[in-house]
Amino acid sequence: MRIAVQEEQFDLGAEANSFARGNVAHGAIVTFTGVVRDLATGDLDVMEIEHYPGMTERALTKIAQEAQKRWSLGDVLVIHRHGRLEPGERIMMVATAAPHRKDAFEAAEFLMDYLKSRAPFWKKEITRSGAEWVAARDEDENALGRW
């Protein structure tokens, strides 16, 4: 299991390749990547991501361990950035490896659902018209009901 909370950019391709190389005993690999949307309006200048150092790593580790308990998984990778991000930059990624695709998919969705609502990150969008904290969406909280 690798949990990385970092300010620097990460290379999705390099991470996916390295994750896959470490999991050749598992037939199925799923990755999810979140990208700062380059909105059609072209309005977004910067996204700032604040987090709670210490708790963030604990929360992500706990979520990943829970995924490993619930599904038959090879490895789990979680990378999440903080700081200032520009449109088009990658915010975060998760990767799961499993003998069967259903496990790899479900575990990745579980990681995302919990990461969204239970890991201490907060997004702020800075646009021409000002700065605004992104509001939590009910559907993200409701997504936890599935598990």
Binding site: I49, M55, M92, P120, W122, W133, V134, A135, A136
Partner: protein, 81 residues
């Protein structure tokens, strides 16, 4: 204990962290105590249904006891991912 604030809670209160001496038995009592201090606290804690709290870096409820707790953090619902 240390009290930490994040996101708009931090912005409203104006500081990311402070040391608080309190005899509050629960999170809710601590919130009431802080809210009486100054308007900026009252404004930040006006609607606790819009807030989350962590005790020693674990999510908790507002009626959770504070005994033995070294770090309390207040913040809005998370929006990572």
């Amino acid at each position: 204990m240390d009290v930490l604030y994040f996101a708009w809670v931090r912005e409203r209160i104006g500081i990311p962290k402070e040391r608080v001496e309190t005899r509050a038995a629960t999170v809710a009592e601590l919130v009431a105590e802080l809210s009486e201090r100054e308007d900026r606290y009252a404004a930040a804690f006006a609607d606790i249904s819009a807030l989350r709290v962590a005790l020693d870096q674990e999510l908790a409820d507002f009626d959770a006891p504070l005994s033995g707790v070294r770090e309390v953090a207040f913040f809005p619902p998370m929006t990572g991912g």
